[in-house]
Amino acid sequence: MKTAKAGTTLRTVVVYLFVIWCIAPILWLVSTSLKSDVDAFSPTPVWVFVPQFQNYVGAWLDGGMGGSMITSALVAIASSALGIVAGLPLAYLSTQIWPAESVASARLTLGILLLTIVPPVLSLTPYYRALFDVGLTGNAVGLTIVHTFYAILLAVLIFRSFLVNFPREVREAALIDGLGEWRTLASTILPNVWGAMFATFVLALIQSWNEFLYALVLTNGSSETVPVTIAGFLSFFGTNWARLTAAGVIGALPIIIFAIVVRKHMARGLSFGGVK
């Protein structure tokens, strides 16, 4: 019994140490963001200081965080929603309609998976050029399209994992009743995949919010997203670290709060059905 208890204690200690390792840097980030530049950079940590909330104000107004937060939110919500709208029917098609375990279905899924492997650097210049020619760079629309693409990939993979074991009889019954495919989808499948939808939405949202490379190239001043604005604080001419850390906290906070609130849905979505 003693060893069991010792085991539990050891386990607890290790886990808590790990969690501290996860959280401590963030706490440090927050504390740095409230210091003045001098305090932030002093070689010995300054433990007691007067909170400088103007760093946050400065980051929000002058630094442009206010505008880019809105842009990021719009792009993320739009691309995630569109991703679900486009991904669900496709997943439904490949899992419920096509023959079970069919080669076509497997190939589609594999194809989608492989598209996620392609590194964004490859498609940067081609997409930039094409979107530029139709005037969709320099605003958030071009970026939303690209993010929707990735949201669809994510959606198909997640929905597939949920639908692949969904009883086909449900659909067949609906068809007997004379419903078309879309109606079937809406009335039979939809009510049962809210969990998956939510998981997809959450993951796609986070993916879009944090995306950096495409945003860097496809947006301009007023249509920047959060990661680009934050990176922009790193100026050749002198980084305003106090503001930068404040901007980092501002940019990270919504997603962190959001993720914590919806954490249960994330696990189910993240493993693409590896976990039932």
Binding site: V38, F41, F132, V217, N220, L234, S235, F236, F237
Partner: protein
């Protein structure tokens, strides 16, 4: 800031000139349909994210009121600015009428005909500025034969900065005048302070960061980027010698982390007293002397950068830079007259004076401002060094033109490898030369 009387006078002058211009244009037998005899409309600018730009933003309402031209200024972080501008140019985009960048790129823009010769637009900005308002060394990198293709906003050279108090403490008489002395002095202070204060610090981060100060070392040892036939020669004997010296100097007498130093980190190392000397841009001057951020204000001496060769040039291939950031007019702009009016206003003496008055403006390019009282007040400590360094500045200090960035990237990588100990200087530079031969098809 600008007195009402002056404003009235200026307004009258503007009206007068505008009227005259319109009159002349109307009478002129030149049949060019002059729909833009008074420039108007909107001008879009892509600018560096720097205080000179902030200065324009603050004063814009005045400009718009005076000329009726609306101006929208977008900024991009310096690291992306060049690629954003180039992507736009390569697509012949008319998104931006004016771009703000330094002459390393500017010369390339002109070579590629991405930006316009400004001579034909001068009349649209006469009321604000003319060529001889500018300090000549700052304007010359923007000129090519008879054409002027840019208006300088701010410029700089490089200089040696050293701690007069430490020099005195360790019995060093005056700044080093040769490279050997430089190493010697670094050693004395480093050992004298038991390593507490590094002998010297410079930028070491890959790319333009390290290439910028290093180019001075290249010339100090008598080298250049090109050989006599105009071929790229980055692994020349002088380059290797300079790199070896530079690497050893920083490895032995540089502060820890110097291999990652960008401009800001190097500046902070010096102003926080972590190193006794530094060779960097003249723009560092104000930061050294700003008591609110610098621990060494009032204890800094400024001098020219030492040479190693025995007969150093006083002009031509000198070892101090001449780097000018200017406004360029896009070839694809659809509103060039108005764009030029903005450019002229932005570089006018009055606007430049405002920067010096309200912020950091050590690099202003207007003669009037450079010789003015405000400038002397603020920057007197190093004004003479700045002026003399700019005067002897080497316009070819950095490779310029279309290939500039490629060369800088390759050399910068070689320097970083050398400093990190990944490669010996000779091998690193040879590899850079090979890469460049391949990339530039020579």
């Amino acid at each position: 800031m600008i007195s009402t009387a002056r404003r009235e006078r200026r307004a009258l002058a503007v009206v007068g000139i505008a009227a005259t211009v319109t009159f002349i244009a109307g009478c002129s037998t030149d049949s060019a349909p002059d729909s833009s005899s008074t420039p108007s409309g909107t001008v879009r600018v892509l600018a560096e994210d720097i205080n000179y730009t902030d200065n324009w933003k603050t004063l814009l309402p005045e400009f718009e009121k005076e000329t009726g031209i609306k101006v929208e200024i977008d900024t991009a972080p310096y690291s992306n600015l060049a690629s954003k501008i180039l992507l736009g140019f390569s697509q012949k985009s008319s998104d931006y009428d004016v771009v703000f960048n330094d002459n390393t790129y500017g010369t390339g823009y002109y070579q590629s005909q991405y930006v316009d010769d400004l001579t034909e637009y001068e009349k649209y900005g006469e009321q604000f500025v003319s060529d001889d308002d500018f300090y000549a060394p700052y304007l010359s990198p923007m000129q090519d034969e008879d054409a002027t293709f840019g208006l300088p906003v701010y410029g700089e050279s490089t200089m040696l900065m050293y701690r007069t108090d430490l020099f005195e403490q360790y019995g060093i008489e005056g700044p080093p005048t040769t490279m050997d002395e430089l190493a010697e002095d670094a050693k004395i202070i480093q050992e004298g302070t038991g390593g507490e204060v590094a002998g010297i610090s410079m930028r070491g981060a890959p790319g333009i960061q390290s290439v910028y100060p290093w180019s001075g070392f290249l010339r100090a040892f008598g080298g250049s980027y090109y050989d006599e036939d105009g071929n790229l020669d980055v692994d020349s004997a002088e380059a290797v010698e300079a790199t070896t010296f530079w690497t050893d100097l920083l490895t032995e007498y540089g502060p820890s982390g110097v291999g990652n130093f960008d401009w800001e980190q190097n500046r902070i190392a010096f102003t926080q007293g972590k190193s006794a000397m530094t060779i960097d841009a003249t723009a560092n001057g104000p930061y050294n002397e700003d008591a609110s951020g610098s621990t060494i204000a009032g204890k800094v001496g400024y001098a020219a950068i030492p040479y190693d060769i025995t007969n150093p040039p006083t002009s031509g291939n000198t070892n101090n830079s001449l780097n000018v950031h200017g406004l360029y007019l896009s070839e694809f702009s659809e509103n060039k007259p108005a764009a030029y009016t903005f450019m002229a206003w932005a570089t006018s003496p009055e606007v430049q004076a405002n920067v010096v008055k309200t912020g950091e403006g050590v690099g202003v390019t207007s003669n009037e401002v450079l010789n003015g009282a405000d400038y002397a007040d603020k920057y007197g400590a190093f004004q003479s060094t700045v002026v003399s360094q700019v005067e002897t500045g080497n316009p070819d200090y950095l490779p310029s033109g279309q290939d500039a960035n490629t060369i800088i990237t390759a050399v910068g990588q070689a320097l970083s490898q050398s400093l990190a100990g990944e490669e010996k200087p000779e091998a690193a530079l040879e590899q850079a030369q090979k890469t460049l031969d391949q990339q530039l098809g020579q």
